[in-house]
C-alpha cells in the first residue's frame, strides 16, 4: 500500500537551514547536509530543500550543493528556489535531485511548467504555492522568502492549482501562510478545497505543531504528504515517534 509521506522541509539561506515565524525574521538552525542526513536516519520519507532567498535575489541554486546532498542521501529529495528555465531545472535533476519545485518563477511565467513537464516529465515537476486567506477566499503570494519583496500575485489559489495541474505539474505543495510557523495545525479547510480539484498528489505545508495535525491532514484532507520544518528542526516532534503514532492511528506509513 502506498504510504503517506512525512517530509521535512529545509529552508536554506546561505547553506544554513533557517526558519522564520510567519515568514519574517530568520533564525539559523544548522548545516543543510548535516540536517538532511539526520532526517534520513530518523525515517523521513523525502526531503525538500528550499533556497528561500533565490527567487527574490534573482539568482539560482548552486548545483554543487545539490550534488553533495544527492551523493549522501538514499531517499528522494526535491530542490526549490530560483529555477527560472527548464534548462536550469534539468541541470538540477542531472545533479541528482529527484524533483524540482517552482514557485515565484511559475507565477511570472506559467509556460515554465509546460516546458519543464515536456523536458523532464511531470513526475519531476512540483509547483509550490504560498497561499493566504483573504476576504473569504485564498490568494497566491510570491517572493515569500524576502519580507521586503513579498507580494500578492493577483491569482486565486483555487484557479492557480487547476492551471498548474493542467499545464503539467506532477505535484502541488500548498503552503498555507496564515498557519505557517505558528504550529496550530494545517489549514484543513483550504487543503480540502484544493484536494477536491486535483488528480495529482497534494502535499500540505504550514502549521504542523503536533502529531495529530499530521493525522488530520491525512485523514480529513486526504493529502499524499505532509511537510513541516520547525517542529522537526527544534525537536518538538521526533519523526520515529510521529510515524509510530500515525501507524497506530491506522494510517499507511513506512516504518
Amino acid at each position: 500500500m502506498l504510504a503517506r509521506r512525512i517530509i521535512p522541509c529545509l529552508d536554506v539561506k546561505d547553506g544554513k537551514v533557517v526558519k522564520g515565524v510567519q515568514f519574517v525574521g530568520h533564525e539559523v538552525l544548522g548545516d543543510a547536509v548535516d540536517l538532511a542526513l539526520r532526517y534520513r536516519d530518523e525515517g523521513a520519507d523525502e526531503l525538500v530543500l528550499y533556497d528561500i532567498t533565490a527567487s527574490s535575489e534573482g539568482r539560482t541554486v548552486d548545483y554543487n550543493w545539490v550534488r553533495d546532498i544527492a551523493r549522501a542521501l538514499d531517499i528522494p529529495f526535491c530542490v526549490a528556489g530560483g529555477l527560472r528555465t527548464a534548462e536550469q531545472a534539468v541541470r538540477c535533476l542531472d545533479s541528482g535531485a529527484d524533483k524540482v519545485s517552482i514557485n515565484s518563477p511559475a507565477l511570472e511565467r506559467p509556460d515554465l511548467i509546460d516546458e519543464l513537464a515536456e523536458m523532464a516529465g511531470s513526475q519531476c515537476v512540483v509547483v509550490g504555492i504560498d497561499s493566504r486567506e483573504m476576504d473569504n477566499d485564498y490568494y497566491v503570494h510570491q517572493y515569500s522568502g524576502d519580507p521586503d519583496k513579498i507580494r500578492q500575485a493577483g491569482r486565486r489559489t483555487l484557479d492557480w492549482v487547476v492551471e498548474a495541474q493542467k499545464r503539467g505539474a506532477g505535484e502541488i505543495v500548498l503552503n498555507c501562510m496564515n498557519q505557517d510557523g505558528v504550529r496550530k495545525g494545517y489549514d484543513l479547510k483550504q487543503l480540502k478545497l484544493v484536494r477536491d480539484l486535483l488528480h495529482i498528489p497534494l502535499v500540505a505545508s504550514g502549521g504542523a505543531g503536533a502529531p495529530e495535525h499530521f493525522r488530520d491532514a491525512f485523514v480529513e484532507a486526504d493529502v499524499s504528504g505532509a511537510l513541516a520544518a520547525s517542529v522537526f528542526h527544534k525537536k518538538i516532534i521526533a519523526i520515529p515517534d510521529l510515524k509510530q503514532q500515525l501507524k497506530a492511528d491506522g494510517i499507511s506509513i513506512r516504518l
Binding site: A3, A70, D74, P76, D94, Q123, L198, H199, P201
Partner: protein, 195 residues
C-alpha cells in the same frame, strides 16, 4: 565495472552515487563499442518513453542493447523501455520483455503520478530480489505501468497490481528507484553488482 547508459534525458547522477556508496565501479557511456563490450549495463531513465527511444535510435544503440548477453537492468523508465511498446507517445520499445506499458488512469482517488513509498510483494525468488521480503517499501515515481506477467519478480499495487521488478533471461528491471529506496534499494543494487 558497470556501464550506465547515458541518453541525455535521465537522472544518472543518483544511480552513479548509489553504486559508489556500494563501492561498485561504474561509468556513464553512450558509446556503441563501450556498451557492446560492457560487463554489466544499467539503463536508467526519467522522462518520456518516446524521447528516450528516439535517443536510443539516434545513438545507434537499439540493436546493441537488444543484442546484449551480459546482465542488463532497466530502472524506472528504463524498465518500461524493456517492454514491447508504450502507450506514452505510442512508441515501440526494446521488445526484450513481452507486454505493453500503459498509463495509470488518474482520478481524485488515484492520483497520478504514483509517487512515494509503496510495498513490494515477491512473486518469484530471484538473485535480484534476494534478501527482500513481502512488505518492504520502495520509492516509486511514475505515471505509466508495466503489466504483471510471467516475467514479473515483484509486484506493487496502485489501483491494480503491476510489475515492480521483472526478469527475462539476462534482462532485469525495477520500476521504482533503487538508488532512492533506502535499505531495500541498496540490497537490490548490491544484488545486481554481485550477479
Amino acid at each position: 565495472m558497470i556501464t550506465v547508459i547515458e541518453l541525455g534525458c535521465a537522472n544518472t547522477a543518483s544511480v552513479l552515487f548509489a553504486l559508489d556508496r556500494l563501492g561498485a565501479e561504474a561509468k556513464l557511456s553512450s558509446d556503441q563499442a563501450e556498451i557492446k563490450g560492457a560487463r554489466k549495463v544499467i539503463l536508467p531513465g526519467v522522462g518520456a518513453a518516446g524521447f528516450a527511444m528516439s535517443r536510443i535510435h539516434e545513438l545507434g544503440l537499439y540493436d546493441i542493447i537488444r543484442g546484449l548477453d551480459v546482465p542488463l537492468m532497466g530502472v524506472c523508465l528504463g524498465q518500461q523501455l524493456l517492454f514491447d511498446r508504450s502507450t506514452e507517445g505510442d512508441v515501440e520499445c526494446l521488445g526484450l520483455i513481452p507486454g505493453e506499458v500503459t498509463r495509470i488512469e488518474a482520478s481524485r482517488e488515484l492520483v497520478v503520478p504514483h509517487m512515494g513509498w509503496n510495498q513490494l510483494e515477491i512473486k518469484t525468488q530471484d538473485p535480484l530480489n534476494a534478501g527482500l521480503k513481502d512488505g518492504d517499501f520502495a520509492y516509486f515515481v511514475h505515471s505509466y505501468v508495466c503489466p504483471a506477467n510471467k516475467y514479473t519478480l515483484t509486484t506493487a499495487t496502485y489501483g491494480h497490481p503491476f510489475a515492480a521488478m521483472v526478469r527475462k533471461d539476462n534482462v532485469w528491471g525495477c520500476q521504482f528507484h533503487p538508488e532512492r529506496s533506502s535499505a531495500a534499494g541498496a540490497q537490490i543494487l548490491k544484488n545486481f553488482v554481485e550477479l
